[in-house]
Amino acid sequence: MSEHFDILVVGAGPAGIAAAVSAAAAGKRVGLADDNPAPGGQIWRSGTFQPAAARRWLARLNAAPLVRLQGWRIFDSPQRGTLRAERNSDCRDLCYEQLILATGARERFLPFPGWTLPNVMGAGGLDAMVRGGLPIAGKRVVVAGTGPLLLAVAAHLARRGAKVVAVCEQAPLRRIVPLTAALLGEPAKLLQGIAYGVAARGARFFTGCWPIAVNGREKLESVTLQRNRKHWDVGCDYLACGFHLVPNLELPALLGCRIENGFVVADDLQRTSVADVFCAGEPTGIGGVELALLEGQVAGLAAAGRTAEAEKLARRRKRQGFVHALRTASVLDPQLGKLASDTTIVCRCEDVPFAALREHANWRDAKLHTRCGMGPCQGRICGTAAEFLFGWSAASVQSSIRPPVFPALVSSLGASAKETCQSDGLPSAGASTGSQKEIL
């Protein structure tokens, strides 16, 4: 089955919502595809607390005349102008004249002994789980890693009744507070207030501090923290640990968009190096909510042919001095690359330990010899870690991407070219029966 759009937007976070709403307001037939259960992306994930900007944009989205494709995961581009998507055992071709990629970012994870135990999660990861109904009241949480998310997550979890026992940031706090404000689109003063609020609830802040081991048998029981040369154990129920953000580049890379220094290259109107493909938000540079909203609007207007309006907004962006300030902000301490022991798992999908990887010269070699990065996450977790641990630039996505960019059903992979956009035909027997076998 196929659907046709003037403009297809991928990703329903702030950038994607802004792009889709702007393009729909310009009278185009717009589709908005997103693989989460609800729109908002990771930063505006539903839950108790939503900032005003989120409520405003989600209301605009609900009022906009566009086709919402919620829960659809894009895994291939069988031909120019077509993306192939899957939901449960359904498969559809989404056809477009113009495409706007707003695929967002994910957390960077780094391996250390015990990091694979249950209840060790990303900072945003635990926050997402709590917004998804995980009870946190009364639970002891250590928040660790680096980047603007830590403080925001600690504040949110504390507000939900968690006992945040420690927040460990590897960088100095004075650098993190303004960045947190930029990422969340909230005034720095407010964030400072939140920081003190978390502290007032009993959390201790440590800078230059990180976890060096997680202890426990079937799940996390305590975490060993290190600051300067001191080590100490902290008992806790959850460790929320992430090392800033990395953009989701798989789809831009699959489509051939030029990527430089780890980000999609986009011009003032958010056009990528590929004709009719735009990119907005974090994949073009980690810049936070306000910048993502602006880039999304520029992309939506430009894709809809409202060039003058798009240029006007793009000029406003320059005037306001928006920059991808977070790009270089969280430089990881080199010591973080030395936490894994020989037996520490680096590739969680295939259980490949650090020692097995260390002897290889590059990512490709490591993949072929150890199956590292060849499990269902396709290197999204271990590839990012390997880039930092071993300096393997080839672990970056653009050199190794190929379809499907997410594991897909055999029936979806077998969807024949006949049912793509030109023929607009009925789904094949394979697609309609939906084999349950998944390629892993």
Partner: protein, 83 residues
Amino acid sequence: MPDPVRSLALRVNGVPLTVAPGTTVAAAIMMAGAPARRSVSGEPRGPLCGMGICFECRATVDGTPHQRSCQILCAEGMDVRTS
């Protein structure tokens, strides 16, 4: 007696569990106290990223294996199995 509007009944590994609407299957699995899966070498694993990237939370949902449970909302009568 749970409020039928404000709670959903499902089973995780056969054990009944009641959750609020909007709860993800991954959260339900954690509430049930089960690891989401065993790794290829038998280690217990739970959700890591919470956003459909890491595949650590995959479970069998209503008979369909390898579902990323953090991306699926609980539904009345759902049958969830972890390996």
